[in-house]
């Protein structure tokens, strides 16, 4: 879909790491630190801002296998996903979750590490992400996978 605008958001709930695509082209990326006290509202408003600014058609995030997550993380992850979904639907965007594990294995030659993700994305897009910006790398890998029709397993 060459004229579709995507907003992909990394699943890690403590920062809002995102990337936007227009068709297959990366148009922007970034990261927001989320305020602990106003976490829900700030997350909702940041996503709303991104949707409106970039005319987003589809919001993407990772399909999470909750059984494989540490117990103490499950609630936070679930909360984060819910806020993303709410913000997307309230602001006229579609919301979908995609499984990226298989695609990451292929892209990173079976070496799925933070360092490998950042290096691959930096090389592929000629940008300069730091090691601690792996959330942005995740968002870019997700968005690119969907934009290039590489990801099929997902949910709404």
């Amino acid at each position: 879909m060459n004229n579709t605008n995507y907003l992909s958001i990394s699943k890690k709930p403590y920062k809002l790491s995102y990337a936007t695509f227009k068709g297959k082209s990366l148009t922007s990326y970034g990261e927001y630190d989320l305020d602990y006290l106003n976490y829900e509202l700030e997350t909702y408003n940041r996503i709303k801002y991104l949707i409106k600014t970039h005319n987003i058609d589809i919001v993407l995030t990772n399909l999470i296998d909750y059984e494989a997550q540490p117990k103490k993380e499950i609630q936070k992850l679930s909360e984060f996903q819910t806020i993303i979904k709410l913000s997307a639907l309230k602001n006229n965007a579609l919301y979908t979750e995609f499984r990226t594990y298989g695609w990451e294995k292929r892209l990173l030659f079976n070496r799925i590490t933070a360092k490998q993700k950042v290096e691959t994305v930096n090389f592929g897009y000629d940008i300069d992400l730091k090691r601690n910006q792996v959330g942005i790398a995740n968002a870019i890998i997700l968005g690119e996978g969907v934009a290039h029709n590489r990801l099929q397993i997902g949910s709404v």
Partner: protein
């Protein structure tokens, strides 16, 4: 159990009579509509085979109908797709055909198709009252 007023009793009686009428009419019309469609199709087919368009009081005519088309196709019929004339068009949305078009013509992953379908179904805001007749259960 509260006692019914005279007005309520009379309304209940009237409702019962109307329900019987509704059931009878619905079943009769459904049966006759099926038969009519069958006869009509056969007559049209024979008219076309025999190369005629009138016999007795029955005449074959061709009614013009609007073809189902996408917004993109409609836009191509207007020079200015952003103008007031185009924006004044009132259209009726066919959800199934729209989902099919996205799936097969644009070729997108299944989760996006599902999200698209959900969005379109949520656009249905009007509640229109309609009576339906349930199947008869034969008492043994």
């Amino acid at each position: 159990m509260s006692k019914q007023t005279v007005v309520e009793k009379s309304q209940e009686k009237r409702l019962e009579a109307l329900l019987n009428q509704f059931e009878f009419l619905t079943e009769t019309i459904d049966e006759y509509t099926l038969l009519l469609n069958k006869v009509e199709n056969e007559v049209i087919s024979l008219f076309e085979t025999l190369n005629t368009n009138k016999r007795g009081r029955v005449r074959l005519t061709y009614k013009k109908a609007l073809k189902l088309s996408s917004i993109k196709e409609l836009k191509s019929k207007f020079n200015n797709g952003d103008g007031e004339m185009f924006n004044s068009l009132i259209v009726n949305l066919d959800i199934d055909k729209s989902v099919e078009a996205l799936k097969y013509e644009v070729n997108v992953p299944e989760p996006i198709v599902k999200a698209f379908e959900l969005k379109l179904k949520n656009l249905k805001e009007l509640k229109v009252p309609k009576l339906t007749l349930e199947r008869k259960i034969d008492d043994e």
